[in-house]
Symmetry: C3
Amino acid sequence: MTTKTNPGRFFEDFSIGEVIRHATPRTITAGDVSLYSALYGARFAVQSSDAFAKTIGYRHAPVDDLLVFHVVFGKTVPDISLNAVANLGYAVGRFLAPVYPGDTLRTVSEVIGLKENSNRKTGVVYVRSTGFNQDGVEVLDYVRWVMVHKRDPEAVIAEEHVPTLPRVVAPEALGDACPAIDLDAYDDGLAGSSDRWDDYEVGETIDHVDGMTVEEAEHMLATRLYQNTAKVHFDQLAQSGSRFGRRLIYGGHVISLARALSFNGLANAFHVAAINGGRHVAPLFAGGTVYAWSEILDKQPLPGRDDVGALRVRLVATKDKPCRDFPLKTGDEYDPAVILDLDLWVLMPR
Amino acid sequence: MTTKTNPGRFFEDFSIGEVIRHATPRTITAGDVSLYSALYGARFAVQSSDAFAKTIGYRHAPVDDLLVFHVVFGKTVPDISLNAVANLGYAVGRFLAPVYPGDTLRTVSEVIGLKENSNRKTGVVYVRSTGFNQDGVEVLDYVRWVMVHKRDPEAVIAEEHVPTLPRVVAPEALGDACPAIDLDAYDDGLAGSSDRWDDYEVGETIDHVDGMTVEEAEHMLATRLYQNTAKVHFDQLAQSGSRFGRRLIYGGHVISLARALSFNGLANAFHVAAINGGRHVAPLFAGGTVYAWSEILDKQPLPGRDDVGALRVRLVATKDKPCRDFPLKTGDEYDPAVILDLDLWVLMPR
Amino acid sequence: MTTKTNPGRFFEDFSIGEVIRHATPRTITAGDVSLYSALYGARFAVQSSDAFAKTIGYRHAPVDDLLVFHVVFGKTVPDISLNAVANLGYAVGRFLAPVYPGDTLRTVSEVIGLKENSNRKTGVVYVRSTGFNQDGVEVLDYVRWVMVHKRDPEAVIAEEHVPTLPRVVAPEALGDACPAIDLDAYDDGLAGSSDRWDDYEVGETIDHVDGMTVEEAEHMLATRLYQNTAKVHFDQLAQSGSRFGRRLIYGGHVISLARALSFNGLANAFHVAAINGGRHVAPLFAGGTVYAWSEILDKQPLPGRDDVGALRVRLVATKDKPCRDFPLKTGDEYDPAVILDLDLWVLMPR
C-alpha cells in the first residue's frame, strides 16, 4: 500500500494566506494553437496569422487568451478542486502579458478566502491564481471560488474570511497584454468586419447565429490538452453512478466555444483583456449544441491609448436553443437553456 | 438589434467581375501538419519527413497539397457559400508554389460566372479563388461553382455568363509547386514503393484496399481546422430538421481520406499538381466507411523536365462498399455507393 | 488490374536474418507532441516543459518515450503484421537516445526467429526493430513477436529458430537516452511529487486511481498519427464481420493511457528507459474506461550514476474496473478486467 497518489485537499486542509505552487509547467507550442483552432474554429485574425499580428504590432501571433486561461487553470485542479462539488464563480481575471508559442506557463495560487457552509459538510474556497511565463512575468491573474468537501464534518476551521471582490475590472487595469496597435495597418477586410469600437453601443445585443454540437472526444481532447485532471470529465464508468449519469464537459470548453462563435458579430474584438465574472449556469453534455449571444454592457476608452477601446460584453451561451430571442432570465431564474453567463472586457481597434 | 453578423451573400448579391478579399489569414504550422496526419494517416514520405524532402530538393517537408486546398477554400465559405444549396463542381485547380510551415495563407476570389436557374429561386455562381502566401506569391488557383439561394425570387440579374472551363489542366501548366527532384537521392524503400511513373499505364485501375470509418468528432475537428464555417457540418440541432437529419461531412474531408488511402498503390505520387475537376456525388455521414480506387486516365511528361512525370488519375471514393470491383456508374447513373469522382494530376519520380 | 498495392507478407515470406527497411520516415514535431498530450493528458514535467527540461540537463523537452515507440512501431506494420492474427509480446525494448521535435525517425527490422504453428496455418515471427534518427543514431531497439497467417498451409519453412530473449534489460544497459540530471535544479514542486527513487520499495503497489474512457475518434486519431495502418483499428464495415464486431483499439493506445494515468503515484518517473516485456491480455473497445496500477518489481542504481535510479515497474491496465484491489490473476488466469500487463524500467531522480 502507498499514499503516493494525490488525494486532493479537503476544505479543512486550506488556510488563508497559504500559497500553493502547482505542478507541471507547460510549454505552449504551435501544436497547441492548432489543436485549439481545430477544437473551436476561432477566426480572429490576430491569433490566426503571424503576418497579420506582426503588421499591427505583435511580435508574432499571440496564443489565444482563453487557451492561456485554460492552461493556467488546469494546473490548479489537482491542488484546489479535486474534491470540489462545484466551481462557483470567477472574478477579476486580467490578462497581463501576451503569450507566444514557446513560452512555458506555470501557476501559483494564494488562498484568499474560506467560508464553511452551514451544513458543515462543505465550504467555499477562494483562490487567486497567477500564471507566470518562463521569465517570471505574470501573464494572467484571476480569482475563482469553488465549493469543496470537508473530509471530516467535525473539523473546526481556524479562520474564515470572505474577500470583497470588484464586480468589474477598471478600464485603467486593461491592456497590458496588448501592444500598441498600428491602426493604419489593421486591415478590416482580412479581420472579417468593418465594425470597430466606435460602431458598438451600450445596450446593443448580438445573436452570434451559429451553433456547434459537441462530441465526447472533443471535450476530452481539449481538457487533457489543458492537463486538467478533474475526473468528472473523463471517467464514464464513475459518472454512470452520478446525478447526471454522464461525463460533464469542462466549463472552460463552453467558454471557448462561445468566444469562437462570437466572432460572427464581434470579429474585431481580437483580445480578451479581462474576465470580470462568470458563472457556469448549467452543465453541458456531449451531443448538446451550443449557441451564443452578447450584450454590450459598457464601453470605455483605455486611459492614455487611442489605438484600442474596451467593450464590456456579457457573453451568454445556451444549449440546444438558438439565441435569436436572447434567452437569459425570467425574473431571477435563468432560462433553462442558458449554460454560461460570462462578463468580459474585450479590446477592439478604434 | 444589430446587423453586425454575416448574413452571407444571396445569388443576386454577386456580380460578374467582382473581386472578394476573404477574411482571416491563416499561418500554417507544424501543428496543422500533425493534425492533418492524425485525421487522415497519409504516409507520403515527402510530406512526412523533413529529411526525405530535403534530400530530394525541397527546402523542408512541404505542407500537404490538400491541406493547402482546404485552408484556401475555407476562407471563401462565409462570402461565397453560406447560403449555398450545393457545391457543384471544381475545375482548373493548380498548385503553384510549395507551402511550408510558417507560411500565411489568404484567399481572394473573382466572380467569373452567374446563371440563374429557371425556377428563379436559385442560381449558380462561378468563382475563381486564389490562395496567396505572406509574400503575395500565388500558391493555389481553382474554380468552383456553387448553387446559391436568391433572397428574393423576383430580383433581376443584370448580367449572366457561363464561363468555358477546360476539362483538364495542360501538362505544361503543371509542376510549378514541385522543385527539381534529385532522382538519385529519391529512396524508393523509404517512399514505400518501387513503382515509379514509368510503371503505370493508361487504363490501369488500382483498388486502394483499405477502409476508414469516419466519426463526428473527426470531421468537425478537420473542418474547424480549415476555418470552414458552413453550418451543415456542425449544428446537429439545425440539421435534425434537414432532409438528411444529420450533420453533413465536408466534401473536402472525403477528398483527403481518398488521397490518403491512395498511398496504397500510388505511394510515389507525392504531389497533387492539379485538380482537373471533381464532383461530390453523394453525401457522407459519420459512421460511414470510406474506400477508394483509382484509374490512370492519362500519362504525360512535363515539358522540359525529366525528373518527374504526371499521371492523370480518376480517384473515386465510396461509402460502405469496398472497391475491388471498381464501382462507378451503371449507364449514366452513379453506383449508389460512390460519393466522390475526382480528376487529378499527380506527379511521380521517373 | 494491378499488383501495386501492398498485400503484406505471409509467414512463408519471412526468412531468418532478413533485414527490412520500412517506409515513410517521419519528422516528429511540436504538433505531434501536442496531439500526444491531448490524447493522453500526461503531466510529466520533463516532457511538458522546455524550461524544466533545460534546467535539469536536457537540450529541450524530449519527445515522450512512448510516442517514439509508437512511431517506430507503426512503420513496421505494413511489412510485418498486415496479415497478423495477434501481436504476442515484446522484449528487450531499450530507449537509446533522446528524441527532440524536429528529429526524423525511420525503422529497420531484422527477422530473428520463425516458428510454424502445428496447425500449419500460422506461424510466429520474431523481429528486432530499430528506430534511427536523421543522423543514423539508434533511438530505440526492441523485439516483438507476432502470429502471422500463412498464405499456403502446405508451404515448407526452410529454417526455424526461436530466439532466447532476456526477461529483463540489465541495469547497466539503461540510461543512454537520459542526460546527466542536475538534482539541485530538479524542482519536486513543479514535478508534482516529493517521492523520489529512494522513497519506493520493492513490492510496493500503487493504485493510480483515475479512469479514462476511450472514444473511437481518439484511438483512430492516435493510430493514424503513428502511421500505423493495421486495418482492424479503422474499418468498422470489415470489423462488423469479425469475432468482436468492433474496431479493435491499438494496444499501444492502452500503453500510453496507462503510462499517463501512472503519473498519479509515479510523478517523478520521468523517463521510460526500457520495456522488459509486455502482453496485451485482452482487447479494448471504444466506450471502455481504462484504469491502471503498478507494482515495484525491482530497484537498481545505474552503474556509475548517482543522479537517477531505475525502478522496475509492472504496469497493469484494466477496463471498466477500478484498481483499488490491484486486479491481476487468479491462479494462471488473468482477471477478466485486465487488458495490459507491462514490465518497464523507469528512471527517477535520486
